[in-house]
Symmetry: C2
Subunit: 211 residues, 2 copies
């Protein structure tokens, strides 16, 4: 399709700019309500005030997520997509006109809540991160394989709820590895803080790789 082709061109340009300016760009993807914004809140809460991080967050309607993230003092922009169920390269390009990439070294993008389309639209990111909560069932990696194949990391969220759901956690991880043998898996809870250190360490390692 011509649309994806054009998007790929824009994404390629963005990726070049990120690499030239040593900006690590990450694209967080999940179903609605899996915990993307909450994980970003906890992450920003651990950063020093002088961190050169900025955030873009996409939703069909509302500025809710940007408002939640803005309280931490870092630059945030909401991208309201109207009826489009994914972010695309053009939206990122337009949003970045307002910022100086040279002043950043981390760009976190929260995509629209959708396990399907966002996996087809490259945003120039260094890595896709898929979040899957323990309340959604272990079969999602098999049912929505594309995003699990394309993600470097699967973050299993809300593990504090494990005692209350009939989830087979090992099965969930095995299913992810079946569609993407090399995928890294991090288990965490933003409520208890369990596993947040593993996520922050992963983030730090990736930032080091582009410095």
């Amino acid at each position: 399709k011509k649309v994806l082709h054009e998007n790929q061109r824009i994404a390629g340009e963005l990726r070049k700019r990120f690499e030239e300016q040593h900006v690590l760009c990450l694209n967080l993807i999940s179903a609605p309500g899996s915990g993307k914004t909450t994980l970003l809140e906890k992450t920003l809460n651990c950063f020093q005030k002088n961190e050169k991080v900025a955030l873009l967050t996409g939703d069909l309607q509302t500025e809710n997520d940007a408002r939640r993230l803005a309280v931490y003092g870092f630059p945030v922009q909401q991208i309201v997509t109207g009826s489009v169920c994914h972010l695309d390269g053009k939206m990122i390009e337009r949003a970045l006109e307002k910022w100086e990439l040279a002043a950043l070294d981390l760009l976190l993008i929260e995509n629209v809540g959708n396990l399907v389309c966002p996996s087809s639209y490259d945003l120039g990111e260094a890595a896709k991160i898929v979040l899957l909560s323990v309340t959604e069932g272990e079969d999602k990696p098999l049912k929505y394989p594309s995003i699990f194949v394309k993600s470097d990391v699967m973050v299993i969220t809300k593990i504090d709820l494990l005692p209350y759901v009939s989830l087979n956690l090992e099965r969930m991880k095995a299913n992810a590895r079946q569609v993407h043998p090399g995928i890294e898996i991090i288990e965490l809870s933003c409520k208890t803080g369990d596993g947040l250190d593993v996520w922050l360490a992963w983030l730090e390692r990736r930032r080091d790789s582009v410095r």
Copy 2:
């Protein structure tokens, strides 16, 4: 768009056939993992063996949901959509070639897990039903308004998890009523059985209206 126009034509024909044959057709929509299949399992479990019900369930990959539903002994077909993140009229039309509508009086359709696209594709259903679990956050009706506007009923699922999530349930309901003032709201748990009677009563009332 021409695609939606053509879909609308097919959906209109399907709706006519459902009405002529007195078949109640319902279209269940939610984010991935909100509990559609589980609710259908509990529903089928309450039916007599001679109920004239059939089910269609859509997913990008796997026959998992059809397998789960098939154990109750009613006709079930899985529609594997490949990369399409919603069911459309053509897929329903094709699936129905295998069945005699005259032999049915209830057709339950479980859509692909996605809060966006399925709201634009009419399947000829008498009503859309949107499921939203208590683990997804109270803001979903505001963020994904279209499906809440178009649904007759919002089923709030997994209420057994309320003590463990920081959800404002009244806020969730108020948000749904803000985008769709007349929406009916049913709260239930498939784990404890709470509220299942309200859902079954709603279903019975709707079936009566097409008999």
